[in-house]
């Protein structure tokens, strides 16, 4: 009984607290990239707390889907994520070395590619091109990874548990 209560109330509460700590730590500066509105809740039909001019400095508190919670002066509210820009983090590291980092297919980085290399993005600590060069194939690790596969049916049950219902959505424009 007590254990059940612990699981039901205390653990989620603890988790919620942890997430609050995480959010509080993430007080990142940002600017509105256009005139927009500060909303009371993360929803288009929520009450507008105040209009925000373009280039308004805000502090990012948390994010939820399309919305970002910010502190704008004395007010707290929600702004559309697309309506914010962040101080450049990529360009500021433009002196960073290229050699020794490996690239990501997920891909991020600045626009300009250095002439000397086709490399980039986020480096993986301790891993260099040499590590890949010297890596021997690891079929055992591959088999292990494949042993974690889910089949269609179990994935479907898993989705139902979270009340995820499949919907028919067409690809946009030039996609098939």
């Amino acid at each position: 009984m007590i254990a059940a209560m612990l699981t039901r109330f205390v653990v989620p509460l603890l988790l919620a607290c942890l997430s609050l700590i995480g959010d509080a730590a993430a007080q990142e500066p940002a600017f509105t990239n256009r005139a927009t509105e500060l909303k009371e809740r993360p929803a288009a039909d929520a009450r507008t707390l105040s209009p925000l001019a373009g280039e308004t400095a805000v502090k990012v508190l948390s994010r939820q889907g399309a919305w970002t919670q910010v502190e704008a002066g004395p007010q707290r509210g929600w702004v559309r994520a697309f309506h914010l820009r962040f101080p450049s983090t990529v360009e500021s590291s433009s002196g960073g070395g290229v050699g020794g980092s490996i690239t990501s297919i997920f891909g991020f980085g600045s626009k300009e590619a250095p002439k000397t290399s086709k490399v980039a993005t986020l480096g993986i600590r301790g891993l260099t091109p040499e590590d890949f060069k010297n890596a021997s194939p690891d079929p055992a690790a591959l088999r292990k990874m494949q042993s974690y596969r889910a089949d269609k049916a179990s994935a479907e049950r898993f989705a139902k548990e979270a009340k995820l219902a499949p919907v028919a959505v067409a690809y946009a424009g030039n996609n098939p």
Binding site: S19, S93, S94, V119, A141, Y148
Partner: protein
């Protein structure tokens, strides 16, 4: 037939013993592309089986450099999310495999044939299953459009290496009356490992491919019943990552920045606005990723 012709071209151009030297297939491929430029073109089409075999070779080499994260519960969780999403696509029947690699940096990779890998550093920076779904769906998008395969084939050395392996193997199949599927797979897997050694993961994909995978990814996430804006939240998070954070050193790239990707993705989102109230699934995500 075309593959056999290509193999014949290889046979003319190269000493017979070189064809059997699997370990040197990459160099072999490079020579072949100089001497017999038609090899690549003639072997352009990969069957799903060949694509999977090549991808497994790449994954095997990749895992030889970066190990899997030891949390099996997390591995199975990510596979369920990924498999559910992949089931909503036109390539639902690929042997989809998802893995979390044990590195604190922020990365995700797609390999031909349906293998997708995300770094633990990325997973732990996410806040909901819909964000994870956004990441996985982006990578699934790369697999759907065969971006990695196209990148391999568009590179003279890599393309010839992979195609050369395929052609030589096809020739063997031809001689044995079509029975040696295993031989073909072995050749392709070996070519995959060589691609990793030769720096496959050192080269980014074309930026238009990233934008395309972004657009596909949000649709696939919405199809799976998730709030497609989870991926918007991920790009927003990436835009705020500091270069020195957790050993992540951001360097120059031919990739678009998260800000550019957000600007591009904004054009596609109005069509998905109606799905913004679909679940984000935060509880299950936190229980699996956060509570440890």
């Amino acid at each position: 037939m075309r593959a056999v012709l290509a193999a014949a071209a290889l046979a003319l151009a190269l000493p017979a013993h070189a064809q059997l030297d699997i370990g040197r297939i990459l160099d072999l491929g490079r020579k072949a592309v100089e001497i017999a430029p038609k090899v690549q073109e003639a072997t352009k089409e990969y069957s799903p089986e060949e694509e999977v075999a090549l991808g497994e070779g790449i994954a095997s080499g990749f895992l030889g450099a970066i190990r899997l994260h030891p949390d099996e519960r997390l591995q199975r969780y990510v596979n369920r999310v990924g498999r559910w999403l992949a089931s909503q696509t036109e390539r639902a029947d690929l042997p989809w495999t998802f893995g979390v690699i044990d590195t604190d940096t922020i990365n995700a990779f797609a390999m031909p044939g349906g293998t997708v890998v995300v770094s633990h550093g990325l997973v732990k920076r996410l806040t909901s299953e819909s964000e994870l779904a956004g990441v996985l769906a982006h990578e699934i998008g790369h697999v759907l459009k065969k971006h990695q395969l196209a990148a391999i084939q568009s590179d003279a050395g890599w393309g010839a290496a992979a195609d050369g392996a395929k052609a030589v193997a096809a020739d063997q199949i031809g001689r044995r009356g079509g029975g040696d599927v295993l031989g073909l797979k072995t050749r392709l897997a070996n070519a995959g490992v060589d691609l990793v050694k030769d720096g496959l993961f050192l080269r980014p994909l074309d930026r238009s491919m990233e934008y395309e995978a972004d657009r596909i990814g949000v649709v696939v996430a919405a199809r799976g019943g998730y709030d497609p804006y989870g991926f918007v939240a991920v790009l927003t998070m990436l835009a705020q990552v500091k270069p020195d954070e957790s050993g992540a050193s951001i360097t120059f790239s031919t990739h678009p920045s998260p800000a550019d990707r957000l600007a591009e993705l904004e054009k596609a989102m109005p069509a998905l606005e109606q799905y913004a109230r679909q679940p984000q699934v935060e509880g299950r995500f936190r229980q699996t990723v956060g509570a440890r």
